[in-house]
Symmetry: none
Subunit: 414 residues, 2 copies
């Protein structure tokens, strides 16, 4: 895979046209029997069908042939970033996954609460698996007690049970392109009966980070000294945050994210999108339409994320995935009513009920604009998309195609 970011950056222009990218998470599927129908083909979708007949269709591979994308790489690809080049480490993904907005130069660290005995000897590496409530209570105390270390802002987030995340905020990336490094050794010795390790920097850029980590450990132990079980912290999995050229810089877009699950808001903020508040629980379809409608005038690019098409696939519930697709079909007229210049419907990966997991199968892509050729797809399904005029493409092609259809790209060369 490779991306067109460096080319697009030089030819993108600001216009009044508006692009709406709808990501139906995990929408691609598989038939349950040979040559049977997928979830999409089984669903009754009159609105999608009508749209497909006036749109261009194709298939998209997000990372590469045979590669099953995680949500991070799948979305980065759709946003135009080569997912083999822009790698988000586990610590950063944990932070992003709970909705933390990371910036280049920051470091995110995965932590475990632990139980320490006499002389700081580790008794339990998971502190007796505290409840999520206990976790949140401890995290709140750490937040209050350690808002910064030597001038570096520190943020502590609860994850679940014994897991938490710490973000050290750099003051941004310096002239040499350097923020906080993340190349430091683990505090977690991964065994009991010994004290926690001191973090040691493996390169000069990470020296300050190691110092911050060690001071955090010391101060956290002081704060938690009277706790019977949750009285220590262990760290492993440090990630610095790669520099993502922002959406605004590459595409000249004023971009907004409408999503309700933390991971997707985190990914959108990583590339510089504005994350809009959404009212309602879980997938909050009505809240999403409301947020989109109310903010329609303010942005020229909207990323709208629908989650349940993926969750039902992960559950292996073919019928329920079909139902969630039909629910989106009911929503579609409210999106069309806004008259986007370019409307894109796509997935970040496939999640066939048959596999109860993400899969490598290409996802159907639909692009509706005034500038499409005759396509004559009858429906938005994998089968029809496979015959579509857009062909089989890589995920990083999607953004340049949307930009072009919105007449936001100048000619390349004279």
């Amino acid at each position: 895979m490779s991306d067109l970011i460096d080319t697009v950056r030089h030819i993108a222009k600001k216009t009044d046209s508006k692009i709406l990218m709808v990501v139906l998470d995990g929408v691609g599927g598989l038939p349950l029997t040979v040559n049977g129908e997928t979830e999409l083909a089984t669903a009754i979708t009159p609105n999608l069908d009508a749209l497909a007949r006036e749109s261009q269709l194709g298939l998209v591979e997000l990372v590469g042939a045979g590669i099953t994308p995680g949500s991070g790489p799948g979305h980065l690809s759709l946003f135009g970033y080569d997912p083999l080049k822009y790698v988000v480490g586990r610590g950063a993904l944990s932070a992003v996954g709970i909705g933390v907005r990371l910036r280049a130069g920051d470091v995110a660290v995965r932590g475990n609460f632990a139980s320490l005995g006499k002389n700081r000897i580790i008794v339990d590496r998971r502190a007796g698996r505290p409840s999520n409530e206990k976790n949140a209570e401890i995290v709140a105390r750490l937040r209050g007690a350690i808002p910064e270390i030597d001038g570096t802002p520190v943020e502590v987030y609860t994850e679940s049970e014994h897991r938490f995340v710490v973000v050290f905020r750099s003051q941004g990336v310096d002239e040499a392109g350097q923020g906080l490094g993340a190349n430091i050794s683990d505090v977690d010795p991964q065994v009991t009966g010994v004290p926690p390790h001191l973090a040691v920097a493996q390169d000069p850029t990470s020296a300050r980070t190691a110092e911050l980590v060690n001071k955090f450990v010391e101060r956290a132990e002081a704060v938690l000294a009277e706790e019977p079980q949750v009285n220590g912290v262990l760290f492993r999995g440090y990630s610095d945050v790669p520099h993502f050229p922002s959406f605004a810089d590459i595409y000249q877009l004023n971009a907004a994210c409408i999503a309700s699950y933390p991971m997707y808001k985190g990914l959108a903020s990583l590339v510089g999108m504005e994350v809009l508040p959404v009212e309602g629980e879980e997938d909050a379809l009505e809240g999403k339409v409301k947020a989109l409608t109310e903010n329609w005038a303010k942005y020229d690019f909207f990323y709208l994320h629908i989650k349940k098409t993926d969750s039902t696939g992960e559950d292996g519930d073919f019928a329920e995935k079909v139902h969630k697709i039909e629910l989106f079909d009911e929503l579609l007229p409210s999106l069309l009513a806004l008259q986007p210049d370019v409307l894109c419907i796509v997935g970040d990966h496939s999640t066939p009920s048959k596999l109860t997991s993400h899969s490598w199968h290409p996802v159907p892509l639909l692009i509706n604009s005034r500038y499409g050729r005759k396509d004559l797809a009858g429906r938005y399904t994998e089968e029809e998309a496979g015959k579509g005029s857009l062909g089989l493409r890589r995920g990083t092609d999607v953004m340049p195609l949307l930009m072009a259809n919105a007449l936001k790209l100048q000619k390349y060369g004279a």
Copy 2:
């Protein structure tokens, strides 16, 4: 072209599923008249047709658009190695072509027997084109007389007429990743009337190789001093052997090769496959099925090579190529009886009878697994493959797709 080796290496996992890759050499063809039928479309292939109806089809370009692949690049691409990156030099291909198993760090050299006159003046650069029998006799004498030079094992192989191959075996690649270098000047002056050149190293790594070559020339002339015609050796075309990350390392596969022609066994061994013995002459179809069946339990990946689909194309014999395709069709039920989890049928390049040579035309790809989408191809032909759900792909996509369909790849990223 590029390959996914570095990505696949990190996500491949060992499982019990079995992959069978059948390479029908040069299987792609051309119609003899405009819009006529190819060899594949002309052949009567009930078994292939039935398989196609339950499989996924697509077209594969092995090296790139318009590029006609040699057997080496074609196969490397199918095995997942970018053939523009992993270049096997002429000396090494000559060695591989006669079945020599090369290892990283070795150097293979193409030699000609020559006739030398007084003061070592070259009289005939091809030693009067000796018979293959004479060649073999001379090679046997050199083998016996020069088993090693200064501790470096030396192997001499007969090719045909005046051509032979010498392999200098390094003791493997050293800590700095260095084996024997191959950047040395030619011994062959390419004219008569002068003595052979001394080989000169063009870089430090090749100094030892130049010394070995010069000593080989000296000792060969001594051995052949009494020969009336075949009394000198000339060298040009030195190849070091690139380091191929092995199949086992990349794919976590225990891979076996079932082929009867030396070139294909050599290529398979270059990437670390086990080459299984096959009983029978020439294409030895029955011997191949026997080898496959007997070894089915022992490996999780099989590369099975069928040669005659290519040779008949090279001969320009359309009808005979059709016949060889039909012979493979008869064989197919014995392969299906083994119930591979993933069965792939593909070519390493096209060899249209109309061109009497390899060609650049994409080859049809068939993948049969439990995890395919509706495809509805009626036959395994170029035309049907062009409409298939797998689309038009590069050759290096094949292995990741087979691995995915065998559920041997973990998710990429979270």
